[in-house]
Symmetry: C2
Subunit: 439 residues, 2 copies
């Protein structure tokens, strides 16, 4: 591990090898930044002060000033793979103690202008990109089977199409929010158990759930009528964030036929605000499991499919103030479909994919009960409650003020990031947004 | 009917009573405009030249210059009802021969600067707004029943939830395009008839369909956690466009379980580029049919629900050059759910609705076979082909180069608008966008 000229505390999730990107607000204006330790690098200022570095590191046809003076990552995402790789090299060489670029190392004033502490009270972390469209897939066979058994019984658990295409649906981009945003319990229609014929009632969701997912930001845009091939799909990927796809199970069960989940999902979807790039994840690439049956040629790149060996955790802290309890440990490699296959299938009709579009994996459940990545599965529809400890620590679904936190571990050093959000009931006639209390 | 100072040809769809809004591109820059006859009114220039008119007509708290200097209608949409009503009054009084505002009537130079001909070759009509999210409902009982019978048989045609809530799903905003954009036949997976167990094959869609819909642009935005009540829903509506929700039926049938339509819909959705406002439609308001069962209170405003008595037509012209043949005549009032109910249900969880979001009705089929608003229903899944005349005029679904045109008639004078798009097969290895040939 290379040492940095920035002071990075022991065990930080943001060493030199991570370098995710995001957006911070400072006195009302938004800046594209990279994160290192508990600091951020103002990319716009960096380009302004050191334009020659960007010129010489491969920004041949891309205007780095234009890309990094933006107030979101969208232009950077759209610039494609080479400028992103160049930026990573530049940041690494500027920020490493032994880096080949000494412009920050030898100029403490410039360094202080470019590298700023995140704990400054005038700084807040924002959504990293303007999300054009958000799509949610259903790429874990374990999750699809578990939910299928509970919703439709064992015989119809996995639909006949499931192994032939990555099943997905269009989600709601307006309710995607960054970690820390208060999420409140939605109201909606549901049918009490054993009411036949079904007559719905209205009220707060009684089966509020999390779903741990990994979501990919689309990089370079494609255009209407131009499908992205499986061979080219990785050129359209920017990087990933963690996602909590909050789900109202009782509402979902009633509304989802025949057109899919709607209000059960659109009240909030939380993402982590720091986008880990494809390059940062590269060391954790592993072959994906062989698919059986072999997918149709447009979904089959011919070579070995690759995924990531990345551990994912979910812990929940009950509001009584107990410590967070880990309820799930799973791995990204459990997904049956890769994100390259998702993007290829999504665009096979000619659907345009735009820089900043979000492509989520679906719940990343694994084969073992402890790797189930939603409460629905962990507590098996309420039949096996889980324990968070203390009084009132039994859970079938989420309670008000439970704090759900997700983490991603690439290894001991790279890329741990938390999603936090509080939940609180909003009474039907009270529509006030609940204030967030960060953990 | 009031006469205008603008020359409007007999039978124009854009008399003084219509005045829809849109966006035109002129030498590379986009302008917010209103349409009258075959002319457009440059709203930005109008405000710049006559700011006092906007001040005195009720733009109290809204910066008209900011709203109309934009390159899309989003700011105008977000300004809400009163500024929109004020703008309609201003335009009507400026453009009527007997209008109370004489600034254009008495100043031909100013009039020529503000009111421009649409047939100028440097002018092209663009998307009216940046669509944040697009949602498609399923609000015609006749359509839901027809499709249900064909997909699931008569006993499961209408799902138990259908009469209790407006069923809808999130669509894809990146592929919403304005009338005239070439639409090409998508590729995808489908299962040939009578293959059991199902094994999909890949290729061009064989059951390409249109769906005539009416789509509503959201006006004033709402915020996360703040549901829009049924009483306030109309304050969040800007106006409507016609929509063709192109559908790949064979792809849809295979992919849609359990999460709803996905690639069968996301290759293109065409809208008419001129947005008719709620005010222009007001004279055509009629009471909606009484709903049975009575909806839950949050969807029931207490007073009589209102809809519009508006005739909708679809005609198709075969590529051999025959005249267009009308294949459908239906009416907006056939919808079971109103757009106010759709918006209320959509946001009941606290889902934010943003200015420029698009809320489509679903296929506006009526009770009679000639009012069915998709080929699937008109030709009843291919069992009753329709005739477009001439050789090769028999149709079960759309053929390449068929031109589908939709019209809306409020009465003899107000608001007829066409959607046009050509269809052509795109071979799997050819991803070139097809050039449009306007009729």
């Amino acid at each position: 591990m290379r040492r940095s000229i920035v002071d990075i505390r022991e065990g930080s999730d943001f060493p030199l090898e991570n370098l995710p990107y995001g957006v911070v607000s400072e006195g009302g204006s938004r800046h594209v930044v990279a994160r290192i330790g508990d600091y951020f690098v103002k990319m716009g200022v960096l380009v302004e002060r050191l334009p020659e570095v960007f010129d010489s590191y491969g920004f041949d046809h891309v205007d780095a000033g234009n890309v990094f003076s933006a107030d979101s990552l969208n232009r950077f995402m759209d610039a494609g793979v080479e400028p992103r790789k160049a930026t990573r090299r530049i940041l690494t060489e500027l920020l490493a103690e032994d880096g080949e670029l000494n412009q920050l190392r030898n100029n403490p004033e410039l360094k202080d202008e470019v590298v700023k502490p995140l704990d400054d009270p005038s700084i807040s972390v924002q959504m990293p990109a303007v999300i054009g469209d958000y799509t949610d897939f259903y790429a874990s066979k374990y999750h699809a089977e578990n939910v299928g058994i509970m919703m439709r019984g064992k015989d119809n658990a996995l639909m006949p199409n499931w192994k032939h295409l990555p099943v997905g649906y269009h989600g709601r981009s307006s309710s995607v929010v960054p970690s820390g945003t208060a999420v409140h319990r939605p109201n909606g229609q549901s049918v009490p158990a054993n009411v036949d014929p079904p007559v719905p009632s209205f009220g707060p969701c009684q089966m509020l759930d999390f779903e741990l997912e990994v979501a990919c930001f689309v990089g370079k845009s494609s255009h209407l009528g131009n499908p992205i091939t499986i061979e080219n799909a990785d050129k359209h990927i920017f990087g990933i964030v963690l996602m909590n796809d909050w789900s109202a199970r009782d509402i979902q069960k009633w509304e989802y036929v025949p057109l899919g989940p709607f209000t059960a999902k659109n009240f909030a979807t939380t993402i982590s605000p720091w986008v880990m790039t494809w390059e940062a994840l590269e060391p954790f690439r592993v072959p994906a499991e062989v698919q059986d049956p072999k997918p149709l040629p447009y979904l089959d790149g011919g070579s070995v499919r690759k995924t990531f060996d990345v551990t994912l955790d979910v812990s929940i802290r009950a509001p009584c103030g107990e410590s967070p309890v880990r309820v799930c440990r799973t791995n990204y490699k459990h997904l049956y479909w890769t994100v390259e296959q998702m993007i290829t299938h999504h665009s096979v009709t000619g659907c345009p994919m735009r820089a900043g579009d979000l492509i989520a994996s679906g719940t990343v459940s694994g084969p073992e009960p402890e790797s189930f990545a939603s409460m629905l599965e962990l507590a098996w529809k309420g039949t096996k409650p889980i324990q968070l400890g203390g009084e009132n620590g039994e859970r079938k679904f989420l309670h008000d003020l439970d704090e759900t936190r997700a983490c991603i571990f690439c290894d001991e050093n790279v890329g741990r990031e938390a999603i936090r959000a509080l939940l609180r009931t909003c009474e039907p006639d009270s529509c006030v947004m609940v204030l967030i209390e960060l953990a």
